[in-house]
Amino acid sequence: MAITSAPGTVGTAARPAPPSPAGPRRTSLGRKLRDNLTGHAFLIGAVLCFAVFAWYPMVRGVIMSFQRTRRGETTWVGWDNYVRILDDPSFWTAWKNTFHFTILALVLGYAVPFFVAILLNELRHAKGYLRILVYLPVMLPPASALYLFKFYAYDPSDAGLFNAILKALHLPTSQWMQSPEMTMPAMVIASTWMNMGGAVLIYLAALQNIPGELYEAAELDGAGIWRRIRHVTIPQTRLILALLALLQIVATMQLFIEPLILANGAGAEDSATSVAYLIYQHGFFQNDLNGAAALGVIMLVVLAGFSAGYLRLTAKQD
């Protein structure tokens, strides 16, 4: 359709002559080379950006983690940075907190969007409005959304939005960010509210691709709504569910701005310190870039181990 109006089209008369029979191999080789050059020319900008800002930093991060820089002099110190990092009790607290967040975020941030998407997919009215509502928080700058939660929702006095609601329902109020037990759930709630829109839309797209006949057949077999979800919806969206689970876990490793803004960093009794926050602390407050690099490598190894295990698990299921 676009081809007919493309200015490059001059009609059939302008076709180049077929390659001469004299040297078909040389022509094709030369042409292959030229095609490759063009192909790589188109790639070069993005590849350079990847090389300088992604691939090289990865290698450099690993190298840095074995070095120490003092007064401009860089020396090789072997595992020293790792030993120092592992000796620090806050390292273990940070991992404990990050895992705690990951688990809560999987329960809330992962399951809730899926069920919201199923619900929205069933509704025949106000679809557009509801989709906009769910995606709206995604468009807020995270700092904006988090100050909203910090000052209004999680105000530990009864003037806070959440406490006012709890009080109206005659439920016990909470200290929120001031209580070590509530810090994590409070951060997960804020983070889920902020981020779930994207996942909901991706699920919705996947749900719309499920052939209606499958539900039809399941219904004829006498499957109720829950069994239809279990035996049709979930298997049909398996791939996207698996992909988003993995991305969600990668994302939870980044837990940083929530502790920084909601809990002023560490939070009550260190209940908010995350691994990402520790990297930031080491790298940009304690002037320990090498320790921070080591922390980054540890995070990478943990994630790689996790991904490998995950891939094996999903491969077995197939």
Binding site: I3, A6, P7, G8, T9, R15, P16, T38, G39, H40, F42, L43, G45, A46, C49, F50, V52, F53, A54, P57, M58, G61, L123, R124, H125, K127, G128, L130, L133, Y135, L136, M139, P141, P142, A143, S144, Y147, L148, F149, K167, W193, G198, L201, L204, A205, I225, I229, T233, R238, I240, L247, M253, Q254, L260, A276, I279, Y280, A293, M299, L300
Partner: protein, 295 residues
């Protein structure tokens, strides 16, 4: 939406039309509409009106639903004290550049990988996609060290917009999205253009790009929101007050500024992206739906 009404989902149309099913459906719809409005719009209402309350009114229990004596000064203070005009301009400028760089470089790369298929193309794509699995936090320190002293060139990009623009080009998700879209454009069109003697650049410009408007729109919107939402990276590479982004600026002022003013500033910072979203929500939705993310 019209296209959905014909397809059957979890629950059949017939079941919904029957007496009991119908009652349940309408109740559920009402509950969902009211519930979602409260959950997603409620906090925003609270934010906009909360910024109009006085310090005393905010601390009062139970909290008031409407500001009794709207303090418009809070918004004016936020605008002036934080120099929001400058912060917003910076953020716009970074976002615009990010769109430009990503559109040009990522589109070219995705086009090459999808249609020109040079040698090692798949290996390069694999290396790019591998970065998707690496959280930004892992790279933040070596990336920062790289930006303050670029290899070979030995330039520092600190406080330069390139420190935001160029790393954003290294976005495997965009390249994947664009490549999947280009893959869906029939090979025949390419072959026909080639027959007519069009160069690869001409084919990209005259055939591929006009057909790819929706996905280009999506990539642009993602680029803008990424800049608008990013926090730690701009905080690190734009340390001067003159080059800060709006999120970082609000954070920098939050310590010594009254709560109402911080919230007023947060509201102002949220307005541009919310407007952008309202204008382009159709594209965003369809982009996420057709963008090839189908597992």
């Amino acid at each position: 939406m019209a296209q959905d009404s014909g397809t059957r989902t979890l629950i059949s149309q017939a079941q919904l039309r029957r007496g009991r099913g119908r009652a349940i459906y309408w109740t559920l719809l009402a509950v969902v509409i009211i519930g979602f409005t409260l959950v997603f719009l409620g906090p925003l209402y609270w934010m906009v009106t909360g910024a109009l309350k006085s310090g005393q009114e905010i601390a009062q229990t139970p909290p008031s639903l409407f500001p009794q004596d709207p303090q418009w000064r809070n918004y004016a203070d936020a605008w002036n004290n934080l120099d929001l005009a400058k912060l917003l301009f910076n953020t716009f400028y970074y976002a615009a550049g990010a769109v430009l760089f990503q559109l040009v470089l990522d589109t070219a790369a995705a086009y090459s990988l999808s249609k020109l298929r040079p040698m090692f193309g798949n290996a390069i794509l694999g290396l790019m996609l591998a970065t998707l699995m690496i959280p930004a936090m892992v790279l933040i320190v070596p990336q920062y060290v790289t930006v303050i002293d670029l290899p070979i060139l030995h330039l520092s990009l600190l406080d330069s917009p390139f420190a935001i623009w160029l790393p954003l080009v290294a976005n495997a998700f965009n390249i994947f999205l664009l490549k999947r879209f280009f893959d869906s454009i029939p090979e025949d069109l390419m072959a026909a253009a080639l027959m007519d003697g069009a160069t690869p650049l001409r084919t990209l410009w005259s055939i591929i790009l006009p057909m790819s408007r929706p996905i280009l729109g999506v990539v642009s919107i993602f680029a803008v929101t990424a800049v608008w939402k990013d926090f730690l990276w701009p905080k690190l590479v734009m340390p001067s007050p003159e080059t800060r982004t709006v999120s970082v600026g609000i954070y920098a002022f939050a310590g010594g500024t009254p709560m109402n003013v911080v919230i007023a500033a947060s509201v102002i910072a949220a307005i541009p992206t919310v407007i952008l979203f309202m204008l382009f929500q159709r594209n965003i939705m369809s982009g996420l739906t057709t963008g090839g993310l189908k597992g």
